[in-house]
Amino acid sequence: MKEIIQTKSKVKISSKKKTKWKTELWCWVFLLPTLVLFAMFQGWPIVASWYYATLDWSGLTPDSTFVGMDNFINVAKDPYFWNAFKNSFIFMLGTIPFHLFLALVLAVILHKPGLKAANLFRTFIFLPVVTTTSIVGIIMVFIWGSDGSINDTLVKIGFLDQSINWLGDAKWSMFTVILVSVWKNLGVNLIYWLAGLQSIPQELYEAADVDGATGFRKFFHITVPLLIPIGTIILLLNVVNSLKAFDLIKTMTNGGPFFATDVVSTYIYRYAFTSEMGLPQLGYASAAGLFFAVTIVIIAVIQAVVTNRIKGGRNI
């Protein structure tokens, strides 16, 4: 009798092992499509970029020469690269305050349980987010143009004596691109902040009401501290996204006038895919891309580490 039970349980174990093994296999089958695409379009490009960056190669013919670190050295020596590098950061620093503060203020205004029209307003503010950036950029060329609505309105209300060449004047072009980018992306940050506000328990505010706290104090002592975790994520997303910006700048100014809005992504595009600089230089463009990608990754890592430190310090 005992023996029978033992063999029975043995059979059970081995069949369990078999199904477990089978399940693991299925898991990898299910992962396979993602992993294959990942390897082709993310893994390989990251590895290959380093290789391409060591080549002098136009991409038009298979002929290429190995030049070692020359491309990196030339990138580091090119004042236009540093101009684009600087502009990328100006663009980032110009847009982020709006996405952090203006979007938060709007979120607080629209986060009123009794406000029926809040959803409607939210939809309007969000609308530019879902539209095609490259097309918005082209339309904005007219709106901000010399005969466009912005100049027309500002002159009519007497704010300006004569129209400003917003995109053609190197003094104003970066400012204009930043404003349009803020307009385009504010809505998504509004949604992030609203998600953060909704996660704050209502009881906290009720308790504060009992203690007689004002709206101002409630905002700075309850809302702000509780929004810091989601705020750091929003900051990180905006840092990475604004440094990657391409569509809007390409279509609004193409980096001009006189490289005033030239950012690293338009700089790379110019070297890799146009004949503006002579033959395309894929190796050189790869080196510039890597240089900047590494910069972004370093910033992201530093930010993640700093946030973790701050959070860790809090818990203690």
Binding site: F41, P45, I46, S49, F121, T132, V188, I268, L290, A293
Partner: protein, 274 residues
């Protein structure tokens, strides 16, 4: 007093929203104006005489019919592939424990911080080597290969919350791993599928850099986002035509967004909460 303040608030917000969407109002209005009217009165928002001439010109002569079809093909193709890959991946990551699961998670999440825009040259070269340059399939593949960790996490979180009993019942009924996924799990995840599909729709429809470099010499494969850019490069003064092209490109996405925005907003909000 309270009513008064509320009225002021509504007036201010309404004015703000009007200014906010003004560029779209201008674009749509300009695309229905005759060229003469546009030069005389380009800024008014209501055309004196509605004309479909610009829309027809863009559609028939400026190749926008082809661009529109390409946008649809590229978007639908990418949506299907991305739905397939992210739902399967999210399912096993959310529901099963297996060796190497942590590494897969780590790999996918780490790649979120790598700006692929700067590694675009190998992608360009890969598509070229595969012989897919200047084809819609090339654009579809390259876009499907982008980072979709948000979708994977949405699916993983959803599937991890489904009670085990459901699955056990399905297995009792004799359905295997694949059947359980297709006929039991996937139908339950409709809300996530909705969010993923509409987000991917909007991203693919709007994407610019990849189709731009992958269809550099091929107007016949370009989507709308690249087509309008090319039109403007060739014809800088035809603003009513450009506005008409913009209207053709943007109105579908606005309509889809307005009708399905709940899914979209929930998906976006979920991505930062998680």
């Amino acid at each position: 007093m309270k009513n008064f303040r509320r009225t002021i608030f509504y007036i201010v917000m309404t004015a703000f929203c009007f200014v906010w969407i003004y560029p779209f109002l201008w674009m749509v209005s300009a695309s229905f104006k005759s060229q003469n009217e546009f030069f005389e009165n380009g800024l008014s928002l209501i055309p004196d005489n509605f004309t479909f001439e610009n829309i027809l010109r863009a559609w028939n002569e400026a190749n926008f019919e082809q661009y529109f079809v390409n946008s649809v093909v590229i978007t639908v193709g990418t949506m299907l592939i991305v739905f397939f890959t992210t739902s399967t991946c999210g399912y096993v990551l959310g529901r099963y424990n297996f060796k190497g699961k942590k590494s897969v998670y780590l790999l996918l999440i780490a790649s979120m911080f790598v700006p692929m825009e700067f590694a675009i040259i190998p992608i360009y070269d890969l598509i070229k080597t595969m012989g897919l340059m200047n084809t819609r399939l090339g654009v579809i593949l390259a876009e499907s290969g982008g980072n979709h960790i948000i979708f994977i996490l949405l699916f993983a979180t959803f599937f991890s919350k489904i009670p085990k009993e459901l699955e056990e019942a399905a297995i009792m009924d004799g359905s295997g791993f694949f059947r359980t996924f297709i006929s039991v799990m996937l139908p339950l995840s409709k809300p996530v599928i909705g969010s993923v599909m509409i987000m991917q729709f909007i991203w693919s429809w709007n994407s610019f850099l990849l189709p731009l470099i992958l269809t550099l010499n091929a107007p016949e494969a370009r989507p709308l986002s690249v087509g309008l850019y090319a039109l403007r490069g060739e014809n800088i003064v035809d603003w009513t035509g450009i506005a008409a092209g913009g209207t053709i490109a943007i109105i579908p996405i606005i309509v889809i967004f307005l009708s399905l925005q709940r899914y979209f907003v929930e998906g976006i909000a979920g991505s930062v909460k998680g």
